[in-house]
Symmetry: C2
Subunit: 85 residues, 2 copies
């Protein structure tokens, strides 16, 4: 787990927003997502705020918990960005 990312990494920001949107769509708290993904609740918060850079292993855990594929989890963020542009 690396800390705040140095350069601009659009994917980290959109991934965080995607995790939050899918979590809220399920009506889950960060606590519940943390339990279902076997991750730490505060780390979920950091991911959603885009202040940490998730690894593929974390992406896989969150996708499984949110019942989407890892690719969908990445695409979800990107597609929402496109709609709002």
């Amino acid at each position: 787990m690396s800390t705040t990312h140095s350069g601009p990494c659009a994917l980290v920001g959109s991934f965080g927003r995607s995790v939050r949107a899918l979590r809220e769509a399920l009506g889950w708290s960060q606590e519940r997502l943390a339990e279902n993904s076997n991750l730490n609740r505060s780390y979920i918060g950091e991911i959603e705020r885009g202040v940490v850079i998730a690894s593929l292993q974390t992406v896989e855990k969150l996708a499984a918990a949110l019942q989407v594929t890892p690719a969908d989890l990445l695409a979800h963020g990107a597609s929402r960005e496109g709609q709002q542009a």
Copy 2:
């Protein structure tokens, strides 16, 4: 960048094969992909062999170099797995 991943992480393996397949489809060496993605050549080799866990920042760099979206890069590996299953 974390070293060899502890538990089974299917995504890390399929991601590596996906990077290799897309690189080879472009006719690129690992050296060329390293230059185009601003990553280290030996790190590219480790990613392709699935022995390191890439971060989202690395996924973004490789997707840009390989001219696909990050989601496509993840989906590419998964779809190839499905075909071979």
